[in-house]
């Protein structure tokens, strides 16, 4: 355990117990367990196909786990029935509003302005009134440094700016935890830095985050804990220096060798 913020058990934001997920015959997650404290930043690394995305997508129930339990804010999601867990779509829809997700390909709504994108969740899902939505929209756009682009359309922004808007859109829901699935993988190298800076600022503000990334330098500086996923299981887990610089497992070493030396995040320019 690293010496992060708020290490008491009551401050548990998320707990995953023996999470398994199969697609047909293919077992993608073979029993993952994880507990994330409030304000903790967990970085998940692993080779392509190791189940990183699937794990994140199970946390906000974009995929329904085959088995295992997920607790959000201390409460079990779903209800236990006959040895398994039963999920109702209504409950899952409400739960997704409490978990923010940022995608590799941004997935901004192209028919809305930047501000409308950020306001959309609060407006449609939380049903806040116009003024409050607008206030929230501007607040979170400001958080990612893009208040000045409020009236632009996503297609008029750079990739890095689009991803920052996507982060603001998720933040505007004021989620309990944020999930990032390779948020910088689709970006040109010179645009990666600004997005990582935004994420780092969030982490410093105490946001609880699970981050899937290949940016090991970023993982090293921002993570409280690093998880190495291999074949749908947690092969190794520990502080960044434990996992990234002194890995115990051969699998982790092989993976890191393939990545060469890590690059530290570049400063944001604007």
């Amino acid at each position: 355990m690293s010496g992060g913020r708020g290490a008491d058990g009551a401050g548990e934001a998320l707990r995953i117990e023996d999470l398994r997920k199969s697609f047909g015959d293919l077992e993608v997650l073979g029993g993952v367990s994880l507990s994330v404290r409030r304000g903790e930043v967990v970085v998940v690394i692993g080779a392509s196909g190791s189940g990183k995305s699937t794990m994140l997508r199970c946390v906000n129930f974009m995929e329904i786990p085959t088995s295992g339990k997920i607790f959000l804010g201390g409460a079990l999601v779903g209800r236990e029935r006959g040895g398994g867990i039963e999920y109702r779509e209504k409950e899952l829809t409400r739960l997704r509003a409490r978990v923010g997700m940022v995608f590799q390909h941004f997935n901004l709504f192209p028919h809305m302005t930047v501000l409308q994108n950020v306001m959309e969740g609060p407006k449609t899902v939380l049903g806040c009134d116009g003024e409050e939505c607008r206030r929230r929209g501007n607040l979170y756009l400001d958080r990612v440094g893009l208040a000045w682009k409020a009236e632009s359309y996503p297609s008029q922004l750079s990739g890095g700016q689009q991803q920052r808007v996507a982060i603001a859109r998720a933040l505007a829901m004021e989620p309990e935890i944020m999930l990032f699935d390779e948020a910088t993988s689709a970006l040109d190298p010179e645009l990666v830095g600004e997005v990582l800076e935004t994420m780092k600022a969030l982490a410093e503000d105490g946001m609880t985050m699970i981050i899937v990334t290949h940016e090991l330098g970023f993982a090293y500086t921002v993570a409280d804990r690093v998880l190495f996923l291999s074949g749908g299981r947690v092969l190794e887990e520990g502080t960044p220096s434990e996992v990234l610089t002194f890995p115990r497992e051969e699998g982790t070493r092989n993976f890191l060798r393939g990545h060469g030396t890590f690059r530290l995040p570049e400063p944001r320019l604007d």
């Binding site: 974009m62 997704r96 390909h105 192209p110 899902v125 998720a170």
Partner: protein
């Protein structure tokens, strides 16, 4: 043997024809509104991967796409009343036939429109906590609408032409009025010529309008 064109008898019965045109527009507009509304649900059912939605919707669409509209209207007028406990008048029979036909065809337009959007758009809405229909109405349809509009316009033109088939069950739309009047005043040549001209006058602007949407790009660009 030349025909002596004389439209004065047509003009004399203009009140009846106008009544017919009004009924045509009422029937067409009703079927268009209902057809586009229910078409969305059938299209969404066909779009969804779930067998219990996909299969019945597909059967429905194929039945209505592969039988003549004329037969559908006749069927709803003559056969349908036998299996339902209420009277079916000419308007209702024609409206049901044409509506279901429009549902079948527009559902395919919806389906293609839904398929044209990347899955990530649905996922982004879903991840925010939107319900399926919130994703549909806030995220998907506004984007798909622009692409679907020309096809819907063409469908509307087809539908208004098909309303003339309601004359077979003696619904008083334009075609039926013309038939009635022409048997009394013995002027079928001028009468049907006039009907054709009236349809053209109503529908041609619509097709021109539809074409403008086809050629015009998205002013905002697209990411």
């Amino acid at each position: 043997m030349g025909h002596n064109w004389d439209f004065s008898s047509v003009f004399a019965s203009r009140a009846l024809l106008l009544q017919g045109l009004e009924n045509t527009l009422i029937l067409g507009a009703t079927c268009l509104a209902l057809g586009l509304f229910f078409g969305l649900f059938v299209g969404a059912a066909r779009f969804s991967g779930r067998a219990w939605l996909y299969f019945p919707a597909t059967v429905f669409v194929e039945v209505f796409r592969n039988t003549p509209v004329l037969v559908q209207i006749m069927w709803f007028f003559f056969a349908f009343p036998i299996i339902v406990p209420f009277q079916v008048d000419a308007f209702t029979a024609a409206a049901i036939g044409l509506t279901l036909n429009t549902v079948a065809f527009s559902s395919e337009i919806y389906r293609a429109g839904l398929q044209s959007l990347a899955r990530g758009q649905w996922e982004a809405g879903r991840a925010l906590g939107m319900s399926y229909w919130q994703q549909m109405f806030r995220v998907i349809l506004p984007q798909a609408a622009r692409r679907m509009l020309p096809a819907f316009m063409n469908r509307a033109v087809e539908l208004f032409k098909m309303t003339s088939l309601a004359s077979v069950v003696a619904y008083g739309e334009l075609m039926h009025q013309a038939k009635v009047v022409s048997t009394i005043s013995f002027n079928p040549i001028e009468m049907y010529t006039s009907v054709a001209l009236i349809f053209f006058a109503v529908l041609f602007p619509m097709t021109v309008f539809a074409r403008r949407f086809e050629t015009r790009g998205d002013p905002r660009g697209r990411s």
